[in-house]
Amino acid sequence: MNEKNRNINGVITPTEKANIFSNSLGFIKKNWIGFTLLASLYAIILVLEQVLPVSSMLFVVLKKGAIYALVAVSMNLCNGFTGLFSLGQAGFMLIGAYIYGIFTIPLEARAAVYQYFDGGIINFTVPVPVALIMAGLAAALFAYLIGLPVLRLKSDYLAIATLGFAEIIRAFFQWDKLGPVTNGSNLLRRFPVFSSTLYPFVVSSICITIIVLLINSSYGRAFKAIRDDEVAAEAMGINLAKHKQLSFTISSFFAGVGGALLAMYQTTVQAAPFKAAMTYEILLIVVIGGIGSVTGSVLSSFLFIACSEWWLRFLDSETYIGSFRIPLLASGFRKVVFSIIIMIIVLFYSQGIMGTNEISIDALLRFFKKLFRKGSKEEAT
């Protein structure tokens, strides 16, 4: 793909040079196509929700996909754009999910939820949006503290250390002594959840937009410079420690928000599932989408969730054609097929779907124009 198309929401192409530097209003003006697309996406979802039965698996995929898209993009910010191979995502999601749960369970439900801890010790609630931000902030705070010692480490060591930290966090949240706050290892539930598919979409798209803005900002360039060559980046006056810390913390902030959304989706929260396997899953999404591609991560999140939760589910049930039983189909086969697909992608498409490219509006327009031209040419001949 042509390098000139690399930027989403247009960083620099010559014609745009003149009007790129303007305030946020200008930004909206410039990216009106993007915003229109986003708005029409919302509209489509709204219409779908009216047209299709609520129970359709499509909504499950859309909801979970939107949440995973956010988490994957946040992981991409850290792993793909800054080159910090962190595997702590599940831990930060856990913090987000718990903070959200703890501070939004209605007071009247606390006695039932904290049944072993006399209703817990936190006896106030905060509004949902505040809780979402708190979830992010708490995750970011932890990330900041973890980052202080850990970010000095090099690639694999960093990976294993962050993985370790995620496990430690999980153990802490399951600790009995913290029970009055975290409900020990028991479920948190009855907190407000979303019913419309639009909700995770709106939250995720806001967050992803912010991440994209960050990536295309001066700081984003600095992150990419660090990824490409730490020594040279430092020689360009980029403070490694500060920028790594920034990327790591911001990535965790959004992972925390993603965790909170996941809690809303699941309707219950428990520390147990937030283990390394979850981080691997997200990492695989990022890899499939292309390390260093935001649109790739988003696309692959939806594909990944759709495959694992929906399209491949038929592999799990014994199927008969007439009286012939299709061999191999049995519980668990879905995952085998799925992991084989993943291995194929990792081995033969190591760039993922998108590589480091992005689907930009310009590229799309050009693509459709080309299609159109081709069409008219064919008509002519």
Partner: protein, 280 residues
Amino acid sequence: MAENILHTEKLTMQFGGVVALYNLTIDVNEGEIVALIGPNGAGKTTAFNCITGVYEPTYGSVSFCGQTIVSNHPQGKMKKLYLGEKGKEKLKRITPTPDRITKLGIARTFQNIRLFDSLTVFENVLVAKHMRAKQNVLTATLRLNWREEKRAVEESMALLEEQDLLQYKDDLASSLPYGLQRRLEISRALATEPKLLLLDEPAAGMNPQETQELAEFIVKIKNKYDLTVFMIEHHMDLVMQISDRIYVLDFGKLIAHGTPSEVQRNQRVIDAYLGVADDA
């Protein structure tokens, strides 16, 4: 004489048992082009790395524009080795990170070109403007820093135009031909708005004609941006042609120093380069 801009005092660097640099004391004055030469493995790049904060020197200090920017005093066994009886000498320990030094106004290039391969030529230069902009992550994300950003872009564009790189601006840095990569690296260093430019073998891998062009280029940018240039170079033509003074290193030690013609006549330098005839 012009004002002193860079001074190293007894700079020493030891890796394990190997002393890569020993008691290096040099001066670079404002507006000069000074060259550091010496055979392979003489410790030239190590000296650069100590000056720019990549390595923490075992002993010695570096001052820039009269201000001490790097300084170390050895501990334990090293102390005996380097301070000897002058152990009472008080040195403040200053070990800044390279980015700090760049911010003070020392820019450098690398022996083996280190560009940001996945960024475009333009972005490579723009990255160097990052540290000078008054912004924080919030204002940058929300584009409230658009004035700063605008300035950075304009300056980078101007710089690229001057270096004849404008036509490649949207190409990936890694896709440029070798010579242009060199030039881009120097442009990128210039974008940090330095007072002192450290060039690490800028002419490596160039043919005589390209080297000649480079010589002119260095002089040109020196005059244009009011720079002081301190460079490591192997191409003697280049060195002799443009440098005001030359320091010669061999096995980590300074063996000669002077104007090009003085150095050219220096027997020790000739020995170091050609080897002593009956070196048993």
